[in-house]
């Protein structure tokens, strides 16, 4: 199977999920100050979900820790970004 859905892609990746989120999105800022919501498009793991009220919901569990959302976000303070605790998060096996 060469052509794959995003879900099928994500199933091939191993994540060791930490107890606390390493990335926190301030949905207030997304709702009030941002009309671009770049994070929704650029995230390779598709973790940013636009909400009806204009806010953003973020799921940290399947994060690649690539930093793209942080670089793409044009709103100061909307994304608080750090790496997961040592040993947690994504673990590539073959990439």
């Amino acid at each position: 199977m060469v052509m794959t859905t995003h879900e099928e892609k994500m199933r091939t990746v191993r994540f060791r999920v930490g107890a606390t989120p390493h990335i926190v999105v301030n949905s207030e800022i997304c709702r009030n100050d941002c009309s671009v919501h770049a994070c929704v498009y650029v995230c390779p793991a598709n973790l940013f979900v636009p909400l009806d009220d204009g806010g953003i919901l973020f799921n940290y569990e399947q994060c690649f820790e690539c930093g793209t959302c942080y670089v793409a976000c044009n709103q100061e303070g909307a994304i608080r970004w750090s790496y997961p605790d040592g040993g947690y998060g994504v673990t590539f096996r073959e990439s």
Binding site: T4, K9, V42, F64, V71, T91, F92
Partner: protein, 442 residues
């Protein structure tokens, strides 16, 4: 300098066990220094993804003779293919060499799988005497009187001291930022790579790509493959799998509202690519940022008590013909280690002494290469080279080869007509020719 308990005091602390960090730790440990190599992943390589072709065989050969005989390498690259794409056609520049250094030892480049290769390289540093500690994420540097004297690991009693800190913590380099050496990045300076490793029987790979034994091929693609997003794509042969992916400039992904993994699917469906991947099975999907702007995003490379190397220093050459990072990571890591060894001899870790790093980088051809190609990244990532020219070349070839009963045109009038029909102005074309020449010829 304050003294700390012996078990918490190192000569060199290297942050990040990628090619830069492990090379630095290896060299410093061999020089007899007390080296700590910190890695935030479960094992070295767990967080690392790139193409990946490693073009630094000769560099590593200096450290570990005939390293490829013991390292987890996939195939050595003796054929490279750069293709200009339109939505339905491809024009390729095909380079093959059975010559010395390409198909024979020490070889020019190898495809590798980073979690395996990086893990092996870190083990070499460990064998040389470095203390390799995994599951250790570094949050900040420690300072005393303005000098950097260590790092803080995100664990209880996480302060650890070293005379020199070498930050090899990758493209996002929080450490260089914490040390005030790097600014925040702009979305146009970085590209996002998304990648798949697709399993395929070795016999099929050999047949399909006309390879013998452990020969390998590297395909790189420009043009319509990433639609109107600035970027490119690649496909490399491994032993029993293919590594393929799409690279897109972050600002351009944002502007075009394109999802990277959808571009990846379109790439695989392109008529020039689909037959190459047919019958394969997805083994792993991954994503990583690439510091594509090279010289333009280089941080200040040293300060009192600290050096920056690898992707953290932006040492990644993404300039059309060249897509190289691991070799520069290693070279800069080695240059940083040489600097740390020098500083230990002098017993002086101030910026004034660590400034020797610049000279060492030049000797290892890192800064000279990046300076020489400093104009290439911005040009390569420009809209015309990204989308217009590759497609023009591809369409032009289509017209040259098409036989449909209309009179054949010679190439020059054909080119003239294509330029006239496109949005490009002749003056711009000339300027671009000059830019290509400036970027690559002199």
């Amino acid at each position: 300098m304050t003294t700390h308990p012996a078990n918490q005091q190192f000569d060199v602390i290297v942050v990040g066990a990628g090619p830069a960090g492990s090379a630095a730790a290896l060299l410093a440990a061999r020089a007899g220094l007390k080296v700590l190599l910190l890695e935030r992943g479960e094992y070295p390589g767990a967080k690392n993804a790139s193409g990946a072709v490693f073009y630094g065989s000769a560099i590593l050969n200096e450290l570990i003779p005939n390293w490829w005989e013991q390292a987890p390498v996939e195939r050595h690259i003796c054929r490279r293919d750069i293709a200009f794409m339109s939505p339905t056609t491809a024009v390729a520049l095909d380079f093959r060499s059975a010559g010395v250094g390409f198909a024979t030892a020490p070889y020019n480049g190898f495809t590798v799988l980073r979690p395996k290769f990086d893990r092996w390289l870190a083990a070499q540093a460990e064998a040389a005497g470095a203390f390799v500690l995994t599951s250790a994420v570094v949050d900040d540097v420690l300072r005393e009187k303005g000098h950097i004297v260590g790092v803080r690991v995100r664990r209880e009693q996480g302060e650890i001291y070293g005379k020199v800190v070498i930050a090899c913590d990758g493209v996002n380099s929080f450490l260089a930022k914490k040390a005030g050496l790097q600014r925040e990045f702009h979305p146009h300076e970085l590209s996002l790579g998304v990648k798949e490793v697709i399993g395929l029987d070795p016999a099929i790979i050999q047949d399909r790509f006309h390879l013998t034994d452990n020969d390998g091929i590297a395909f790189e693609y420009l043009g319509a493959i990433t639609e109107d997003v600035h970027g490119g794509a690649f496909l490399y042969t491994n032993r029993d799998s293919l590594s393929l992916g799409v690279i897109g400039q972050v600002s351009s992904l944002v502007e075009r509202r394109k999802r990277p993994y959808e571009l990846l699917e379109r790439f695989k469906a392109h008529p020039a690519v689909a037959p190459l991947v047919r019958g394969g099975k997805l083994r792993e999907y991954s994503a990583h940022l690439i510091p594509e702007s090279g010289w333009a995003m280089k941080p200040k490379l040293y300060t009192d008590g600290m050096l920056v190397a690898g992707d953290a220093a932006g040492f990644c050459l993404a300039a059309g013909l060249y897509l190289e990072g691991m070799n520069y990571a290693m070279q800069s890591g080695l240059a940083a280690a040489e600097t740390a060894i020098f500083a230990c001899q002098k017993n002086n870790f101030s910026a004034r002494v660590l400034a020797a790093y610049q000279k060492n980088l030049k000797q290892r051809h890192v800064s000279t290469d990046f300076r020489a190609y400093r104009h290439a990244p911005s040009f390569v990532n420009g809209p015309r080279l990204q989308n217009l020219y590759p497609e023009m070349v591809a369409r032009g070839m289509e017209q040259i080869f098409r036989v449909d009963g209309t009179p054949k045109r010679k190439i020059l009038p054909l080119t003239y007509r294509m330029v006239r029909q496109s949005t490009i102005k002749p003056g711009q074309l000339l300027r671009d020719v000059y830019q290509v020449a400036r970027a690559y010829l002199w």
